[in-house]
Symmetry: C2
Subunit: 301 residues, 2 copies
């Protein structure tokens, strides 16, 4: 399968490398890491193994890649305005598109541009840091949940799930894409947000501070109430479970916090702004998220 | 009247200078500005006038000052644990104590130490910055509201009001000290707090950002609801009025924000922690203040 990875940050590098290792023809669209990847390949470090792909097909322009069977969009949502130009050369009528981007609104964005193509969304519950150019470190293997955007075929989403499963990624089919997008926000909204707003701290600081941990849980309750409004329900204790799975991560730096401290754009609208707007429009009160969003919008300006 | 100023930051310098100019025998207890004040005096810059007191009685140790008629406490509340040692040499049974400190709990602290003395609290609604050693700049003259702490005599508070009035300070008697302490928090909690939490911004950024201004007003509503619970009521539109009086201040740096950006201790407990605890104990929900306090406690660590 010819797979184009659009946006080769931590997520793109990691899944692209695993898919290439499993025999797919993977093309990485890159910017900052391009020369290093061409020279040294892509390196993946995990807790129990590490590997280097000595040769990768790395490109700076999607014209050089051409039409692909599958396009995985892993560019930051803050750069969505540049996406059409990057995607057009990669897409014909049979191309499938899968966005692994954070937050809400990204699959709708692709569907609006390519209304006749199959569009899917994938949610990566994983801990990854790009620790050097073309080097990605994985802290927790986690899983990928893939579902069809409005109008896409569920069975084709299941085929995509197999592509990931066969590459060694725990992947599952999720019929309710919007639901799992909200589900991922249950972690991302508090931990990415508080890590920035509390001054650039790691997740251990949040779970170990009684006040910050209480705010994290209150934010989760707001997100879950909003998700309920959109038809997604959570099992009892889901917020506590988020804290429990975060504890063993230790001094983990959430991706948005890394973006922030390194001076890169932060996905403020995709992760905090759009959920706040959608929830408020659905009548859900979000006093904590309002405060966090107001601060982040300024801090990340 | 022999007046000792304990803590010669912006507040202490400003009111001490005005009182000395009006003929009182003022002694400034100082630390960082001591040598400059001894050599150059104290300078006050206001929008419509400025003056220098060439000679001031500046001391580094309150033993050198001795017993005073009035002790004005204007040290940071974060340093309250050092207060007894500073105050003991200044106080005999006739000494009056007036705290001009921010936040809640400071007059009770003095009363606990000097149970037989008259203790008063004063709230300074004023914009001051100490712009250089022993130089204080005034942006808005504002007013001082003075009231008796539990058990102190109202008529003596009125005498204190005259001391300030005669020195050219708009001063008023307030029988309900706790009420005006909450009233001052209506401005201090949002503007000092958001200025820090939004990354070290001035008040103009807060009033000009729709999101931050909305959060500022929501914080004010919480503080006013708490004050109501303690018997203090506000006229309609009081929160909007706070925004209105803040607009002409322009790029004003609230005192806590200056402390924060200059690496000095911030009065997190007096301004945010103690009000939150008192309000929650009185059954008032404070979702916004909880979030702000959790962030500030970490940011100002």
């Amino acid at each position: 399968m010819k797979i184009a990875i659009v946006g080769s940050g931590a997520i793109g590098l990691y899944y692209g490398a695993l898919l290439q290792r499993n025999g797919h023809e993977v093309a990485f669209l890159m910017r900052s890491d391009l020369e290093v990847a061409k020279r040294d390949g892509v390196r993946v470090i995990r807790t129990d193994d590490e590997f280097t792909l000595d040769r990768v097909a790395a490109f700076g322009d999607s014209e050089e890649i051409g039409v692909s069977d599958l396009v995985i969009v892993s560019i930051k949502a803050t750069a969505n305005q540049s996406l059409p130009k990057m995607l057009d050369p990669l897409v014909d009528e049979t191309t499938q598109l899968l966005t692994l981007q954070n937050g809400l609104g990204n699959d709708q964005f692709l569907k609006a541009r390519f209304p006749n193509n199959k569009v899917f969304g994938g949610l990566c519950f994983v801990c990854l840091n790009r620790i050097a150019p073309a080097v990605v470190k994985n802290f927790m293997k986690g899983s990928v949940s893939i579902g069809p955007s409005d109008g896409a075929d569920a069975s084709e989403a299941e085929t995509l799930v197999s592509v990931f499963s066969e590459a060694g990624v725990k992947a599952r089919f999720e019929p309710d894409l919007l639901g799992i997008q909200w589900k991922k926000l249950v972690w991302n909204v508090p931990f990415n947000g508080l890590a920035i707003a509390a001054g650039g701290v790691c997740t251990d600081v949040i779970v170990e501070s009684p006040e910050l941990c209480s705010e994290a849980k209150a934010l989760m309750e707001e997100i879950m109430a909003a998700a309920n409004q959109f038809g997604y329900t959570f099992r009892d204790g889901f917020a506590d479970y988020q804290i429990e799975i975060t504890q063993p991560m230790g001094p983990y730096r959430p991706s948005s916090m890394i973006d922030f401290v390194e001076g890169r754009p932060v996905e403020v609208e995709a992760i905090w702004g759009e959920p706040l707007r959608q929830a408020k429009a659905a009548g859900v009160a979000m006093p904590k998220l309002e405060m966090l969003y107001a601060l982040l919008k300024r801090i990340c300006k």
